[in-house]
């Protein structure tokens, strides 16, 4: 860690003149000098991270794509008048770029643009909700076991290890198969898959933080364990969790799409991207461009999240 360059401030001994005018002049110059050197803006970790992130072109573009996709999904009814669920059978499998159907139509003549926009609601939900859910639960478990080294911590982390012993997608499939099809169940399944790795990240970050002297100082002031956890440990664990979780959104979308692909996802005819990809699978030789549209959007979103996550990691990396 590099030491911040801190200017020397001048005190009263500077420019001790003989006449009152000399002393006043010295005082004025002293105040000027000091003011110039104390005007550095205070910057919190998050402000600094944001500023560094903003200088990363790739990260900004990626974050912009994510934002566009989210806005497109939210404002779908404003962006297209076409119905995502009902199509004209006569218009089936129009190619990408055909008049009135920017992204073509599917095998039932439904407008693909409308389906992609409305489908984005389900797919993005399936990406965000499990990630946020797992981040909250995993952080709680990780911080708890990182602070409480005894039986509680051991039991929690060994349980996590056991869930971690399953390949991620297999666990999601097994949970999904047990719960039955549906978007809610998909979200639950993906959340369960993500809790153990988040808990591991949070636990190791917590272990690193609790041995630091500022935590001892907080305990020395009489603060309860809960208060120390909330005010001292958590703010210093969150950055690790956030970087890790930001990389999970894309994975969550892919797993959710995989589950719908296997028939365990949201119920048809709801336009979820994974389900759309599966139902257009047979059309890949007839209308290849249309058939890859849903897959392309899963890919695009996932790439954007991965790039944004990398940029975020870099922006946080200069350890403050």
């Amino acid at each position: 860690m590099t030491e911040a360059v801190v200017p020397t401030l001048l005190d009263k001994s500077f420019g001790a003149g003989t006449t009152a005018a000399d002393r006043d002049e010295a005082a004025r110059r002293r105040d000027e000098w000091n003011a110039a050197r104390t005007s550095e803006q205070p910057q919190s970790f998050w402000q600094a991270t944001l500023r560094r992130f903003a200088t990363n072109k790739v990260g900004v573009v990626a974050a912009g794509i994510v934002l566009l996709l989210v806005l497109g999904a939210i404002f779908a009814p404003l962006l297209t008048s076409a119905d995502p669920l009902i199509g004209k059978p006569l218009d089936r499998l129009q190619n990408v770029g055909s008049p009135g159907h920017l992204l073509g139509t599917d095998e039932q003549g439904r407008d693909m643009l409308a389906r992609v926009l409305y489908g984005g609601r389900l797919s993005l939900l399936a990406g965000f909700v499990p990630t946020i859910g797992a981040a909250l639960i995993g952080t709680a478990i990780g911080v708890t076991s990182g602070i409480m080294r005894g039986a509680v911590g051991t039991v929690l982390m060994r349980t996590m290890d056991m869930l971690y012993a399953f390949p991620a997608i297999l666990l999601a499939i097994a949970v999904g198969a047990s719960l039955g099809p549906g978007l809610t169940n998909t979200i639950i399944a993906v959340t369960i898959v993500f809790v153990p790795p988040v808990a591991r990240v949070a636990e190791s970050a917590t272990r690193r933080v609790v041995v630091q002297e500022f935590v001892e100082a907080a305990r020395l002031s009489g603060a309860s364990t809960l208060r120390v956890a909330r005010t001292q440990v958590l703010p210093n664990v969150l950055n690790d969790v956030i970087v890790y979780a930001s990389g999970l959104v894309g994975v969550a979308m892919i797993i959710a799409a995989s589950l719908s692909f296997l028939g365990l996802g949201s119920a048809p005819p709801a336009p979820e991207w994974g389900y759309m990809l599966n139902s257009l699978r047979g059309m890949v030789s007839v209308a290849p461009l249309v058939a890859i549209v849903p897959g392309f959007f899963i890919f695009l979103t996932s790439v954007a999240f991965n790039l944004a996550s990398d940029a975020l990691r870099e922006a946080m990396d200069s350890r403050l």
């Binding site: 060994r158 349980t159 290890d161 056991m162 869930l163 012993a165 399953f166 390949p167 991620a168 997608i169 297999l170 666990l171 499939i173 097994a174 949970v175 198969a177 047990s178 719960l179 039955g180 894309g250 892919i254 799409a257 995989s258 692909f261 296997l262 028939g263 365990l264 994974g274 990809l277 599966n278 699978r281 890949v284 030789s285 290849p288 058939a291 890859i292 897959g295 899963i298 890919f299 996932s302 790439v303 991965n306 790039l307």
Partner: protein, 314 residues
């Protein structure tokens, strides 16, 4: 080393136990549990009770678990009413096919990823480094089943170069290899991507270490220096390759489904469609146990190669 081995193996036992508990609970506690696939709505209450009694479903949960575990340890994973076969027979048949596919994918993905990561890490900032970056990012972000569909459309549909599905493992080496190409490519891209990323990062990390400077100062040839770098950089790569093989085993459900590869994955897919949960349960258990054992092998390998890991145990 022997002590490390014993310790690692003894640590795997509780994990295996936990895995079996989780698999059992998944299928017996959650709403879509196994009994639901046997009991149908039009049965009378008495009939349902009879089935439940016969299956021992009225026993307390821990007792049922012990029964199930005892059966499972003897190779009895239940009977698939839909397929009219013992679940273990079905799994045995499929296991070999999945093993072949996963093994070839792992070897292909990990060695290609290692090579790309090594080249990228030692020639930072060059074109090949940036290309590797793009390739590994794409590999991380593309769903394997999407890649599979594209590959199928191009190589089987359009170019007609390769078969569109099935496993021709018994009809000669050439046919076997031809049937393996597309499933291996679509399954192993993510393995390659992650291995390349980790290898590159690890190489960059080690290449900046002081000892590398010392080796150069001692007058070692560049070739020898790189050998030292690789040896020191391999440990994190090994750690992830365990996880990678797991991802391949899990991902097999998707890849095998698309290429109609008669392995565990395809078995799971058809069982899900038919709500044949005993097969899902059995396959999940077998894949998870395989995964734990593979990770154990990777751990031991790592302890053998890297003295730091060996020391960390004690």
């Amino acid at each position: 080393m022997l002590r490390v081995a014993v310790l690692r193996i003894s640590m795997a036992v509780p994990i295996l136990f936990g895995v079996s508990v989780i698999v059992f609970l998944l299928m017996n506690v959650l709403p879509g549990s196994a009994e639901a696939s046997l009991v149908s709505d039009d049965m009378s209450a008495a009939e349902r009770q009879a089935i439940r009694d016969e299956l021992g479903l009225n026993d307390p949960l821990p007792l049922r678990y012990l029964h199930w575990l005892g059966d499972a340890l003897q190779g009895n994973l239940g009977y698939s009413a839909q397929r009219r076969r013992d679940v273990s027979d079905l799994l045995m048949q499929a296991w070999g096919n999945t093993a072949v596919l996963a093994l070839v994918s792992a070897v292909f993905g990990i060695s290609l990823g290692l090579w790309l990561g090594y080249v990228a890490g030692t020639r930072r900032g060059t074109l090949i480094d940036r290309l590797t970056g793009v390739l590994s990012l794409s590999g991380l972000s593309i769903p394997s089943f999407f890649l599979a569909i594209i590959l199928l459309a191009v190589f089987a549909g359009w170019l007609r170069l390769l078969p569109s599905g099935g496993a021709n493992l018994d009809s000669g080496l050439l046919m076997a290899l031809r049937s393996l190409v597309l499933p291996v490519l679509s399954g192993s891209l993510i393995t390659m991507a992650i291995t390349a990323r980790v290898t590159r990062a690890s190489i960059v990390d080690v290449a900046g270490a002081d000892f590398v400077e010392t080796l150069r100062a001692k007058g070692l040839s560049e070739w020898e220096v790189r050998r030292h770098i690789l040896r020191n950089a391999i440990s994190p790569v090994l750690t992830t390759s365990g996880v990678q093989i797991g991802a391949l085993l899990g991902g097999s459900v998707l890849v095998e489904t698309i290429f109609r590869w008669p392995g565990m994955g395809l078995l799971v897919f058809t069982a899900i469609s038919a709500r044949d949960l005993l097969v899902v349960q059995g396959a999940t258990l077998v894949i998870a146990v395989t995964f734990v054992l593979l990770n154990l092998v990777v751990d031991l390998l790592q302890a053998w190669i890297d003295p730091r890991v060996r020391g960390a145990v004690s």
